[in-house]
Amino acid sequence: MDDATTPESEAAPAAPAMLHGVLLAESCGQRVLHPGRDQYLKLVRSLLDETFTVCSDLTAVDYLLHPQRRLPEGVAAERFEVVVNLLSMERRERLRLRVQVPEADATLPTLFDLYPGTEAMEREVYDMFGIAFTDHPDLTRILMPEDWEGHPLRKDYDQGRIPVQFSTDFASRRGGA
């Protein structure tokens, strides 16, 4: 199999690998797809039809402090990245999706209708990163209290200044630091 693939990639280095019209890259030997936001839902739907019946994980990364990360050509880096790990039990394969989500409009369509199990994962991403999933049935905070301010896993969430909820002596703490 190696013999068949290597000459091909050597012959055409200019043409990047594609899957369902989406850029396919590799990271540590794992296959990673880089769909745009408009391609996202359509891509996941066709992958679901193509035996990727389990969404094992959905999470996000805030690349605020690391904007120059390595991305394949043609993918414009945005602040947020939603990372979806799909699993095909039939083929025993995993596939990862990295979707760029801009800070100005941090929304993404929900996968709830395709994988009901992503309901809680998307809530966690909303809670921790403030990325809203459109058409999600119950987009509420899941780990933090309802009245919490800010999204803790964002890189600009000030760790040194987290108000201690039950402390009455907050002002002096701030002065001391």
């Binding site: 540590c28 390595r70 896993l153």
Partner: protein
């Protein structure tokens, strides 16, 4: 409706987390509510029509179970909508144990990271450490260079950990269903396994023993006899459990046909581990996407057929037997060699070298203070923990701490099956259902 919730959030308001009473929701919302897509057809919802706004007609009540409830295994809160004793809807409300471990992980070096992840699923800490170490090793590109002995040792510890976790399940499951003597027995046997783990790692739990590059230390002298003695003791006790519970009519009545889930539903919800296997899907990462040396040992993947709480109990009981089988093979085959990779970038120098070499001392110091740098990249590694697929996603920016570390906790996903398993059941069975999912709240909330 499409954008309404997003608009609410844009305005800076967070919607409420709890289960809303029926008078406040529309039929479409009900259909789309947590997990209800699976349990209610469009036709059924259409039949419901507009939900009666008059509370007098509405014969249901919403009851909070937890967070301070002894059978919710920690601080799980379930909001149950009841009609009489029947559970109509259920919503798990979590987050009471959230301590921001993923955020903490961003400030710990890869060397220290193990102390953090090991506390997530505190009943299978070694599996957490293993998946974290494997992810870091994959980023470093040294996953194939781990010495054979280290790999087999990891497998030994991971299987013993699976046994201790399942034994604790036996105990808590027994306790939840009123078989209190089972609780005592389960804890007793688990303690025996932990005693061995303590001898190896120095701690009963939260070992931080499996580290990127290998393990913290070699097995202690006499470990082989200890392990064999342990296995010899536990195997007949499993048969005692069979006598005590498996064939017992009360036990079977409490579990059979309770909390049923089908294969399709479990897959759609992303459930893994014993929950998925109880529906008849023979999916075990140890066999299907093998890691360590699992292809070289013989074991069976235990599957159920009805997807009920009894199947999940029986699967875990028999998985202890399979783990014993695997451990026997490991004891026979554990090769000699190093217990960690001798890669100067990752592991500290051997203790003896520190006495004779200044460089080794500096190197040792630097590794533990600054840590080692991991090349830029991102990786997702998943293994089979006692509760299902535990995955570790690490994004590295090339520094000595992970830029982002995310743990795909099996309990977090499995707990989302609860609304579906409980629907239409009795509130008395709710305890059995929670117990059969075997959630660890430390991992759910992280």
């Amino acid at each position: 409706m499409t954008d309404s919730i997003v608009d609410v959030i844009r305005e800076g308001n967070d919607p409420e987390q709890g289960l809303k009473p029926r008078s406040e929701i529309t039929a479409r919302e009900l259909l789309r509510e947590v997990g209800s897509v699976l349990r209610m057809s469009e036709a059924e919802v259409a039949k419901l029509g507009d939900i009666p706004a008059d509370p007098a007609e509405d014969q249901t009540m919403i009851l909070n179970m937890g967070p301070q409830h002894p059978s919710t295994h920690g601080v799980l809160r379930l909001m149950l909508e009841l009609r009489g004793e029947t559970v109509l809807r259920c919503k798990p409300v979590i987050g009471y144990l959230h301590t921001g471990m993923e955020k903490t992980g961003e400030n710990l070096t890869y060397m220290q990271g193990g102390t953090n992840v090991t506390r997530m699923d505190y009943l299978s800490p070694l599996n957490n450490e293993l998946v974290f170490s494997m992810a870091v090793e994959k980023l470093l590109g040294i996953e194939d260079d781990i010495p054979e002995r280290a790999v087999w040792m990891r497998m030994l510890l991971s299987e013993l950990n699976r046994m201790s976790s399942h034994l604790l399940f036996m105990a808590s499951n027994g306790m939840d269903l009123g078989a209190v003597s089972m609780m005592i027995y389960g804890w007793r046997e688990r303690e025996e396994v932990l005693r061995f783990l303590q001898k190896v790692t120095g701690l009963r739990m939260n070992h931080n023993f499996i580290r990127p590059g290998g393990l913290a230390a070699d097995l202690p002298a006499g470990w082989r006899d200890d392990v064999l003695q342990l296995l010899e003791m536990i195997l007949p006790r499993l048969d005692e459990y069979d006598v005590l519970m498996t064939g017992q009519p009360i036990w079977r009545d409490r579990l059979q046909g309770v909390g049923v889930i089908t294969a399709k539903e479990a897959e759609a919800l992303g459930a893994t581990g014993p929950i998925l296997r109880s529906t008849g899907v023979p999916w075990d990462l140890r066999r299907d996407m093998p890691y360590l040396k699992y292809p070289e040992v013989e074991f069976d993947v235990i599957v159920g057929s009805y997807g009920d709480a009894f199947d999940r109990y029986a699967i875990r009981l028999n998985e202890i037997r399979e783990s014993i089988r695997i451990v026997h093979q490991i004891v026979d085959r554990l090769p000699a060699g190093d217990y960690r990779i001798q890669d100067k970038k990752v592991t500290p120098p051997p203790r003896a070298r520190i006495d004779e070499s200044m460089e080794a001392l500096i190197h040792h110091f630097k590794i533990f203070t600054e840590g080692f740098k991991v090349p830029e990249g991102e990786v997702y590694v998943a293994i089979e923990s006692p509760r299902g697929e535990i995955g570790c996603y690490i994004a590295s920016d090339g520094s000595a701490t992970p830029y982002r570390i995310h743990v795909r906790a099996p309990s977090f996903v499995n707990i989302q099956c609860l609304p579906h398993m409980m629907c239409g059941g009795l509130i008395a069975d709710a305890v059995a259902v929670i117990s059969s999912v075997d959630p660890v709240l430390g991992e759910v909330d992280r």
